[in-house]
């Protein structure tokens, strides 16, 4: 529905191309209607914004691509085509580096685990020997003492019989 102002709003929109009669009609209305004056001011601001806004050009590196005389279907293109390749190569290098780091890490961890296992085994053997020796400490002491005494007795007996043998030879010789 056209209200009273809409007719004049329409005139305001095409103010540059009004006839003399329309121009006078609008002028007369604007002297009476604050609403349309305000509308006209705002429209001028909007119109200025639109007419002043320059056409936006694509980025300097942007080209519409062709392949064998055919336009290539759209894909996101970078201003610098090498960017994608560079990102790919860097990504690949990072992946390789990460893998190498993981492998190195794995080797180190394996070595550490193995060394720890060996140490634990040695410790276990040592502990077993210690425990065994501790268990047999009394028989070991008695046996040892007995062995030493027996060795003394045997040794003394041997020396004694050697002396007797020597003495009997001396008598026979004399």
């Amino acid at each position: 529905m056209m209200d009273g102002h809409e007719y004049f709003e329409e005139l305001i929109f095409r103010e540059d191309s009004l006839s003399e009669a329309e121009r006078n009609e609008l002028k007369a209305h604007l002297t009476l209607c604050a609403e349309c004056v305000c509308f006209r001011d705002d429209w001028i601001a909007v119109n200025t914004l639109l007419t002043d806004a320059p056409a936006v050009s694509p980025a300097p590196g942007f080209v519409v691509l062709f392949e064998n005389g055919r336009a290539v279907p759209a894909q996101r293109r970078n201003a610098a085509p090498w960017k994608g390749l560079a990102i790919f190569v860097i990504g690949l290098l990072l992946l390789i580096a990460a893998n190498l780091a993981l492998i190195a890490n794995h080797v180190w961890l394996t070595l550490i685990v193995r060394a720890t296992e060996k140490l634990m085994m040695a410790r276990l053997i040592w502990d077993s020997i210690t425990a065994f020796l501790y268990m047999i400490r009394l028989p070991l002491l008695i046996g040892g003492t007995a062995a030493i005494i027996a060795a003394f007795i045997v040794g003394f007996g041997i020396l004694l019989s050697l002396r007797q043998y020597q003495q009997s030879h001396e008598k026979r010789g004399v």
């Binding site: 914004l49 806004a53 056409a55 936006v56 050009s57 300097p60 293109r77």
Partner: protein, 191 residues
Amino acid sequence: MRQTFPTEIIDRVRNGDSCAFAAVVDSFRTSVYNLCYRMLNGNSGDAEDAVQEVFVKVWRNIDKYDERRTFSTWVLSIATNHCIDQIRKRRLPTVEIDETMEEVIPDRIPSPKRIVAEREQAEQVRILLDGLSEVDRAIIILRYWDDLSDREIGSAVGLSEAAVKSRLFRARKQLVGFYRQAQEQAVMEAA
């Protein structure tokens, strides 16, 4: 007034001449990009994709071009319909204005103050256009940046001249409304 595009170039494109097509691209690159950029919320990546697709369509459909129509209007109608389809498909979210505004090549080195003012203006334009429906937005862009007549706009968006007139009136009124809202918001934020 728009110049008519040389018919011999169009004929060469019809015969598969890619050099002639490069001339078509070169002639309409900026107007197609500007249309796509402003239709697609000021997103330069989307605009570049759209431009590429629009020219693919131009190449593929060149045989359907009716010489009674202005060639530029035909190219812009492909671009307009492509953007409208894109918006309807994706229901584009609003995004911040990006760096592409710097691509408007200045005649001289602008002062920082001028850069700020230009960015603010560009943002205001984007906000105004984003408020409109996709068809109304296309009508405004074709009128303001491509200087098409009501009849040509109608031919580009598939509407009668009368419908374009009526929509143009409604869109302009809406733009005033959006402008007022933005002003009120700016005043409230400043307070």
